[in-house]
């Protein structure tokens, strides 16, 4: 019997596999900067900061290696009355947001994502902690999904 969290009767819609490149680009920049700092510390023979920064670089590299799996773990489903969202392998997280709770929808495009034709859609409610962010949607899909979500929210409007 698995200890992992799995929801029954859910067919997840996955985000674009191209999101891997966006995540890799971001992670690679962090890793490069951190590595440069590590080299600097090595030259200065400051051993304690060197070890800390090196560990950080190693952690970032591990994260880069599992990026494809992390991207595959992101999923969402539009159910009748709410949006279901999941992400994470080690730290799994599932969120269910009723459409009527929508306050606004943000669409962001970073430079790498824009080059690959991807958008990030953020579903904002009155609760700050919800944090439902769908990265790696094709631009047209993100716009269509936004319009669909706004329409759904309009028909199920609830107060605060």
């Amino acid at each position: 019997m698995s200890n992992r969290l799995e929801l029954a009767d859910v067919s997840w819609r996955r985000v674009s596999p191209k999101l891997v490149w966006v995540e890799l680009a971001g992670g690679a920049i962090v890793a490069l900067v951190a590595a440069a700092i590590a080299v600097g510390m090595f030259i200065l023979q400051a051993w304690v900061p060197f070890v800390i920064v090196s560990l950080f670089v190693a952690g970032t590299l591990v994260k880069l290696v599992i990026t494809p799996r992390r991207v595959r773990s992101i999923g969402y489903q539009l159910r009748d009355d709410d949006l279901l969202f999941r992400r994470g392998i080690m730290w799994q997280r599932f969120v269910a947001v009723p459409y009527g709770r929508m306050q606004l929808i943000d669409i962001n495009r970073g430079p790498v994502a824009r080059a690959l034709g991807l958008s990030e859609l953020k579903f904002v409610t009155a609760a700050a902690a919800a944090g439902v962010t769908l990265p790696g949607l094709a631009e047209a899909d993100a716009d269509a999904l936004r319009d669909q979500l706004v329409e759904l929210a309009e028909s199920r409007r609830a107060g605060l």
Binding site: N3, W91, Q92, R101, R156, A158
Partner: protein, 504 residues
């Protein structure tokens, strides 16, 4: 409807109390100017009149040089400018109340216009600073969701503010029922009226039935401050400091300890005077929280504006059986609550019965279960035994329960607490699991509400139970939000069937 409020809610533009600019900051300005002039008189004079270098009194200088006329002209012009500024800012500050919105326009050079939709009002707060009370004025604040989005009417006549609040709440409640109120016999003379207002009970006895009123006993108030975490810190600091001084013999350090001690005592004194005359009462238009001895404040929270409620007790309070009740609300009042704490502490201290009554007031229809006692049949699904690795003391009482309209989370063995989330207010729900929880076949649940002091989270519960709860909550959140009509909380009422203590 009282004539003042009837006139104010006719949808036309109205002005505030004529003394408003003075009360809002004029007095402070004059006081500051006075201090500046008194201290820097000669510097200022020599700055503007370089020839003036004889020392002595500027009045003598003016007299000696025959400048009386010029000096008088300058003073009169300055006075006229001040008065014109005050008058203009009063003229330009107008408000109106229609059936849909409360709207304020203000500003001389930079105009601002702010509208508050009546069905989105989160609370109405009436504040009477001591100085304004002497003038018979009060500040009315209409709270809206979000940061810095409140609408202030400062200042109004004291009784006009009370009437206006009742009218705004009546319009907001969605009832089209005009309530008649027996006009109380008000004393005629100006002085008599002021004295009557100053001595009036904090809560209008017509407004709430007495059995719904919760008060704080004086002894309990003092006790709750003595047995608080800040006292613990103070005592620890005193002991630590005493030992340090005793062993090192640096007695001069006592001089530095004095200011912080004074700070502590002024902190206690402020908390004490602000919590005096604390009352919570249920009125037909929501919960009314009032407090204050010299400067008074009272806030009405209409039904359905409470997003979550927490009943909690620290270890120090357990022998006395005292509890604290806090709430999450969407608005952020610019006025601090009782104790100088945020207004989210709705009951600073009270017995379990008091806490139960307050919870029943803020969540109509909810009965506080005897959650401190753990029983197999109390409806809570608690953590399994293996959760003791993560919750060594509290695993037996770390659990959730769901009633038709409420979600309950109980946690903590040392800081015991119960969090109640009304389902129609729930924004979203999350289920999460990290590697340690996975190893133990556990999971964590977060119920998302508007931000506030309460975090409705529960860790280390059984994986299967958490999955079932997640599914249940996700469904319940949708269905109860659709049933909810509390944004117009009395819209279903028929004329003539009004409930509550108001005489028809």
């Amino acid at each position: 409807m009282p004539p003042v409020a009837a006139a104010l809610t006719d949808g036309q533009w109205h002005r505030l109390h004529p003394a408003s600019p003075l009360l809002r900051g004029g007095i402070a300005l004059i006081a500051i100017l006075g201090v500046v002039v008194a201290n820097l008189r000669e510097r200022l004079v020599s700055l503007f009149i370089p020839r003036f270098d004889e020392g002595g009194d500027p009045v003598d200088y003016v007299l000696d040089h025959g400048l009386v006329l010029q000096a008088l002209v300058v003073i009169v012009v300055l006075l006229i400018l001040f008065i014109a500024g005050f008058y203009l800012s009063w003229r330009m500050h107008t408000f109106r109340i229609t059936n849909e919105v409360v709207e304020v326009r203000s500003g001389i050079l930079f105009r601002t216009n702010r509208k508050a939709r009546l069905d989105r009002i989160q609370g109405i707060n009436i504040v009477r600073p001591f100085f304004a009370r002497l003038f018979g004025a009060a500040k009315l604040e209409v709270n809206q969701a979000g940061q810095n989005s409140n609408l202030q009417l400062s200042y109004l006549g004291s009784s006009a503010a009370d009437d206006l609040r009742r009218e705004i709440l009546r319009l907001a409640s969605g009832t089209r029922l005009a309530e008649q109120r027996a006009a109380a016999a008000t004393p005629q003379g100006l002085l008599d009226r002021r004295v009557a207002e100053l001595l009036a009970p904090e809560l209008d006895p017509n407004l709430a039935p007495p059995e719904s009123v919760v008060k704080i006993h004086l002894g309990r108030l003092v006790g709750s401050m003595v047995f608080s975490e800040s006292t613990l810190i103070l005592v620890l600091a005193l002991i630590g400091g005493g030992i340090w001084i005793g062993t090192t013999g640096k007695f001069y350090a006592l001089i530095f300890a004095l200011p912080s001690l004074l700070g502590f005592f002024s902190f206690y004194a402020r908390r004490f005077t602000k919590s005096l005359r604390y009352t919570i009462a249920g009125t037909p238009d929501g919960v009314r929280v009032g407090y204050g001895l010299f400067s008074t404040s009272n806030e009405t929270l209409p039904p359905g504006r409470i997003h979550s409620v927490q009943v909690r007790q620290s270890l120090l309070w357990r022998p006395a059986g005292w509890w604290e009740v806090r709430v999450n609300v969407a608005s952020h009042s610019s006025n601090k609550g009782a104790d100088g704490r945020a207004n989210t502490t709705i009951l600073p201290v009270g017995s379990f019965d008091d806490a139960a009554r307050v919870v029943a007031l803020v969540l109509p229809g909810f009965e506080l279960p005897n959650f401190p006692r753990v029983a197999p049949d109390d409806g809570f699904t608690n953590s399994p035994r293996r959760a003791a690795w993560l919750r060594p003391f509290s695993w037996r009482r770390n659990g959730f329960a769901s009633a038709p309209d409420w979600l309950l989370l109980r946690r903590g063995a040392i800081w015991r607490q119960l969090v109640i989330v009304p389902q129609p207010r729930l924004q979203s729900v999350a289920l999460s699991q990290g590697p340690v929880l996975r190893m133990l076949r556990l999971a964590a649940i977060q119920l998302h509400t508007v931000s506030g002091p309460i975090r409705a989270e529960l860790g280390a519960i059984d994986r299967d139970a958490a999955l079932a709860f997640f599914g249940h909550v996700a469904q319940a959140a949708v269905s109860s939000a659709q049933r909810d009509t509390s944004h117009r909380w009395r819209s279903g009422e028929q004329p003539g069937l009004t409930t509550g203590g108001l005489p028809a």
